[in-house]
Amino acid sequence: SYSFCTLLDTHKKMVQDTQDGRKVEEEKEDDESEHLMRFWTLALIFMVAVAVRLFSVLRYEAIIHEFDPWFNYRTTAKLVDDGIYEFYSWFDVDVWYPLGRIVGGTIYPGLMVTSMILSKLLHLVNFTVSTRVVCVFLAPLFAGNTTLITYWFAKEVWNKRAGLLAAFFIAIVPSYISRSVAGSYDNEGVAIFALVSVFATFVKAVKTGSMAWVFTSVLTYYYMVNAWGGYIFIINLLPLYVIVMVLTGRYSLRLHVAYSSFYALATLMCMQIHFVGFQAVQTGEHMAAAGVFFALQLYGFSEFLRGHLSSEMFTQLITILAALAGSVGLGAVTVGVATGYIAPWTGRFWTLLDPTYAKIHIPIIASVSEHQPTTWSTYFFDLHVLAYLIPVGVYFCMKRLTDATLFIIVYVMSTVYFSGVMVRLMLVLAPAACITGSIAASEILDSFLEACIYPKKEATKQKKQKKQDGEETYEMIGTGFRWAFLVGLIWTILTYVMHSTWAASEAYSSPSIILQMRGHNGERIIFDDFREAYQWLRTNTDRDAKIMSWWDYGYQITGMSNRTVLVDNNTWNNTHIATVGKAMASREDVSYQIMKKMDVEFALVIFGGMAGYSSDDINKFLWMVRIGGTLDNDINEADYLSQNGEYTMAAGGGQAMLNSLMYKMCYYRFGEDKISPQAPTGYDRVRNYEIGNKDIKLTHIEEAFTTEHWIIRIYRVKKEQNRKPTPPPETPLIPSFATVPKQ
């Protein structure tokens, strides 16, 4: 095959690596002091990346945040305590009662294994750090690693100066901070590091065509698949990149080697992961990569033939081959889909391509706030200055088009689209934004700084350049303007620092299980109701008590209370969730039957009407009604709305609403209290009106616990009575057949 290669190489005038010339130039200026300087700058950036994420610990405490991190923490604790084999064969009976969940086979274990290795290493040298502490500080640590790999990536794509800027940008980009503050122990925390590593090494592999780099890339990809379901993005972006490369006439043997071997090895590797397995060759999400793989082989073959045949014969042959391959491919896919070998795309994937899909078909996906489309303000809030440096960076990439910069262009363009569909994908855009932003900033700084500091040298250089390639220059711009522009840019970057620090300390540090409110004098008031209730459950209920709550709180209840839940944030069984939704939305007696069937001992609701906590169950209730309605025809959304079609709990609200179990559990005895002396009784602080039904009687459940600010209310499901209570005296003397006891 050596002849094949050389033939191909000589035949095809491969696109020249324009960066090679520049690289030599750069390496020359890299003397010892600069090397040291760069090392320390990177070290400082690393420290900043870690430090800025510790605001959450300073403002609150070293605690696991939010929802999913509690599950991750719980599984990590299991892994550390019981070992990897126990972990993989773990059937969790504490969740999805009575179904249970095969945890080992249904999670991405990368995060847990990373923490375990870290924990074991620390214990090996007798640093007896608890698992919780390792979990809390893992995300900041990996954010530090991400800065390093981003530096390297940007250096490979552009130059070292851009690399430093990229590292600096990604260290404090709010979008990434939001998912990686200390305590935010989530897959994304390690996955972004893995994602950037895969891209960086793959680009390096394409640049060099070296198998070693391909293999490195496959290893990082393997880690990525272990860590996060977002690897689907990579396995679709890389084929897209290959297509763009081929279409723009940048096909090369390096690309061929890099992609083909990457695809083959990566697919094999990711099939080793329990949760992925044969999905890697069977599901629609992976098909684009397979298609491009085969197409690339055909393309390579045709390129080989081109050299041996006359152009007419070649055109004919290619037409036939293309038609043949096309029909075979189409046929294979059709047969695959028809026989069910190839699974269709999942709901989430469809949502990405068609943002209105979930709203119509799958209410559970649409009900999650992080699956909502992104607002413009979010772009500015999460990217700040980068939001408008992206186009500039893309412009510079276009101007100096190489294989690597083309990758950046494809990456940033596709993520800009995806981030617009789902707000959580802002996170994937962040590294792309940082790299393009750094290219823009570094190019501007380069040319303007040089021109400002060495005006003469620059002028002669420009003249020379003008003579050489007739490129446009900045000659007509005066030095004063240049200075102004420079100061402006630096000032903008400084505001970026200010904004990011503020966002890290104020907006993204809250663990969301501890609520902080401002008192009248500006002092901080802590509402610790969540942990109050969870600790109560943990210490005052039986170990095998079953708790019914909306699925949002499932992970927290299993994590903090160590009790069995019906549904949790791993929304794998829509019917089960719909059952809980129906129980919450039905009348008390109907719900009681459902709860008895499910062995429920306690029902838990989140209620913010007393404390003014707005993300409570009442505000989520319409989703429960909708999801509960998918179970059967008992629940009808229209019954829950007022006559004008409004969603309200006030007088005039739908009768089904005012008699639902959710309403009763939230507002039980709320009508007897006032939130302030001026307000009427039963005045809801979140909804800002007086509730419609204040006279709530409970028959089948009783209040078991309510937290200090009423945020969590727990009800005990009563045992069934032994016999029916004696009928009240006003019953007719001649009993109907229904009440005559059977003889």
Binding site: E61, I63, N126, F127, T128, I526, D528, R531, E532, Y534, Q535, W536, R538, T539, N540, M560, R669, E672, D673, E702, E703, A704, F705, T706, T707, E708, W710, R716
Partner: protein
Amino acid sequence: MRSLGLVVCCLATAASGWLNSNVERKLDLSNAIVRSTTTVTAFNNEEATDEYLFVVPESNVTRIAKLSVKVDKQEIPITETSRKGGNVYYTAKLKTKIANKASVTLKLRRSMVNSLRPFPPVVKQGESQFVDYNDNVYFLSPYATGKQTTTAKLASGTVESYSKVPPPVIQRGDTIVFGEYKEVEPMKQGPLRVHFMNNKPFMKAVTLRRVIEVSMWGNLAVEEWYAIENHGAKLKGTFSRLDYKRPGHSAPSSFTSLHAHLPQAATDIYFRDDIGNISTSTVGHADRSSKTREVIFTQRFPLFGGWKTRFYFGYNLPLEHALTHNGAENKLTVPFASPVKDLWVDDMVVEVILPEGVPVPEVKVGGKVITDFDVEYRSTYLDYSGRTVIVLKDSTLASPERSEELQVTFKFGTKDLLWEPIYLMVAFMTLFSSIIFFSRVLG
């Protein structure tokens, strides 16, 4: 307390030459722990002796948190001598022999847990808790008693019923006086029963683990793990937050706070549980006279009867407050029991973590040498062979009653202190020299 050895001396009858000329018994029933103080004026009828016997019914022995006898404000040693007829006989060894026809005044103090039975055993949220107390109406003694009175101090004046025989029994507010009874023969018994309202918190630590870690670099870290339960009448039915907050409707027998007296020099006090920080503790002002500082540990939720919670707290103390040394011989002196007020502890484990390389030390509790403890080795930061940990288990304790000190004497010289810096130096040296090696030779 345990394994006192068999100092059998069967002189019970021989010592019956005493006569209790006057007995004044004070029963303090105002708390969850019953404390009684009995002042006995004993008259020696026969030859000079230094032994005085007193008796506790066997069924009460396991409930005794503390038993002490003082003569002239000086504690004297007591030993269990024999068990017969369902009673346990203790011998108090007097400092001096009491001559014939001479008198001595003894002060017996006894603290009992688990002696107030909630009755009814369940109450609703707003209801008060009533308890039932049963005892011997007479002072149980192997000697005849000239005259005696028993004064019971109740938690409240609300008394459902009390035993009225033998007369006179007089109730005055929250006090009931039984007696005076004259000419009571030895070992006489009669029922004493009081059923009254007692809304004092019935705090019980089901388990307590105290960890005391000595760092010879100048710090003593104390951490205490509690599993607490309200041992009073159990809550029946619902808990309503609305009623709980309303004045006058709240739950009288529930409690939310534990008061602890920590050393005045304690710093970095923390209060947590399995799921993180509990942000509701208050550090009070220092009490200069007792060199303590009151810290109020307010729990996440109120504890009603039968409710449980778990938490731990800890603090640091400069080592000079607890450690004295004489050459390489170090003596650590810390309070043995829990610093929490009015808390009765069922099961206590005390762990003292000594520095690495310390040989098995000498342990004393309340001046008595203890040999019955486990030794473990635990490796943490900068350890190679593991730190010496002594583990003391004790299941017969009511912590506030025991003011004994735990004394650990161990050998640790100044040169032993150097190991940790040496480990660090070696680690950093290895790191730097390997960097130098790789960057110079390979790079």
